[in-house]
Amino acid sequence: MAKQATMPSDFGPRVVMALSGLVFVLLMVFGLLMRATQAGMLPIDPTLFYQLMTAHGIGMVGTCGFAGAGIMWYFARQYVPVTNGIFWGFTGLFLIGVVLILAAIFLMGFAAAWTFLYPLPAQSGGVWDVNATVVYLVGLLLVGVAFLILYLDMGWAILKSQGGLGQALAWPTLFSGSTDAPPATIVATTVVTIVNTIALVPGAAIILISIVNALVPTFGIDALLAKNMIFFFGHVFINAAIYMSIIAVYEIVPRYTGRPWKTTRWFALAWNATIILVMFVYTHHLFQDIAMPAWTLIMGQVLSYLSGLPILVVTTIGLLANLYGSKVKWDLPLALLTLGVFGWAAGVIPAVIDGIISVNKIMHNTMWVPGHFHFYLLLGLVPMAFGFMLWVTKTRQADALGGLSKILFWAYTAGGLGVVWSFLVGGSVSVPRRWAEHLPQWQGVDAFGTVFAVLVVVAALFFLIRYVVGFGGQPTSSEPAE
């Protein structure tokens, strides 16, 4: 597909990535403080601990989506006529939402975790008041509206330029083997636009219901229905954040290796299957809600296994095939992008294992859960985001993967693995998740995780500084490999 004649400026996504990098580092520090508290190394009281936990959770999920949107928009604007003003509107609305969320947490004491599980926001046990709940939820709603506006513009641009949804999803390639397929970026962007637009609707609905419930406690809904709505929205949103970030791999790696990442029939099949799989898999979060109909839980186990498969197979094998024997010259961005795909692929292992109902009975809501999602966020999405940031500013970065870059790349990798395994080992010895205070016998693993978290923070800070210093730089090649 031909590149657009007039592309919107890339200044917006560059700013979004700078803010995302800054927030990633800040929230990593929050994570470090929480692990140190659980290890008994810091005297943070439970009130502040749960505020930090709420901010860390909602902040990381939101920022993963924010960074993913920056990456997606940066590349999508090359092919479809997205609107620059809408991107700035999205950024502004997102930031207003963030300010409200932070105010609700740190000024008003809201601490219902990022999942705001109904009816906890309105029933705090006398800890935070209704104003805190409303401010938090309105902030969250603004963030949701920001994403919705972005996706509507994206969807409109895709429909206008691709000649229909089927074409954008590469259906001619999928069903009749046509070689005239849209770029991988467009297929991925279309899938994300569809699933996240759908997910944001029940997400916004449960936020509104929770606001009304906080203001008028006699108004309420079924707690299990609310849980379904929250996990449907949350699961799709965080997965879509990863899918948006993967676009960086599809676009950047071929520019290093000279081997294009084509939309093949397998690729089209994988991404189209994901539309269905990612939306119905969320019931694996409800395995211990035994009141759920049994078929929904079986569906959760089946899809939990299947949902990771398609994109993972095409992306992981696609990346390895792209790199193999390519005589590529490694640098920090490429190393981080490759680490990101490794973290995503490997993180699926503990996730799928926990997606087996009989295993879930002894692992659910233990430290195993943060173990698996930190695997594909801390070692998956976040390195992809930093890889993209350092590639975008490449002309102001050191060339080869040597010296300090190499040391800090491996420090981040080792630190991330240490943090993740401290969670997984904690889960295997049944340590509950989201506990502000840990028993002495659990604190050895916590201390191990704390030390490795320091490595992660230091390395991430280095990546951020490199990006900020090189902010005006350009990619060495802005053209996709043909």
Partner: protein
């Protein structure tokens, strides 16, 4: 099972890491994109179909018997656990070994989770306790002792303090007590 889950995960992750490292090392050599593409396509087919077959077997092996099955008949003893911020109300103080115990969980306010832990803080089973519903799981104790019920769903600032105990006596001792 706890240790097996950890070891299986560790081994599979190590295999994936080894593949990535091997490919990264190979990237300094030269291979034709066409031949690599063919091999990749073969691996893609094999891994996709292999994973599907393995998944079907895994599904069959892990869903039979149904993990949430309750004991048949009326031989089981029911223990009702009601969660409230931030304590559990348990209607039974002690239960015997060897008999299936059904834990019936509900909540007076927000979502809680009930994790059944042994004396060494090993998680044996769990389910959610939520307002408006009763979730049931079963467990048959084979050792007497003081077991713990810990909250496993974040429910506010007292979440980590939400715990209760359940005494399990040997079935022989319970029977003797009954005869007296």
């Amino acid at each position: 099972m706890h240790a097996i889950v950890l070891w299986v995960s560790a081994i599979l992750v190590l295999i994936i890491a080894a593949i990535f490292l091997a490919v990264a090392r190979s990237s300094s050599t030269s291979a034709s994109a066409q031949s690599v593409g063919k091999t990749a396509n073969m691996i893609r087919h094999l891994s996709f179909w292999g994973a599907l077959v393995f998944g079907a077997l895994l599904l069959y092996a892990t869903l039979r018997p149904w993990p949430h099955a309750l004991p048949p008949g009326d031989d089981a003893i029911t223990v009702t656990v009601t969660g409230s911020q931030w304590s559990f109300e348990v209607d039974t103080e002690s239960v015997p070994t060897g008999k299936p115990i059904v834990f019936a969980l509900t909540s007076n306010d927000v979502n809680h989770g009930v994790g059944l832990y042994d004396e060494n803080y090993k998680l044996l089973n769990q389910a959610q306790s939520m307002p408006g519903y009763t979730n049931r799981f079963q467990y048959t104790f084979d050792k007497p002792g003081t077991y713990k019920l810990l909250c496993l769903e974040y429910c506010g600032l007292g979440h980590h303090e939400m715990a209760s105990e359940l005494t399990v006596t040997s079935s022989t001792a319970s029977a003797e007590l009954g005869r007296k």
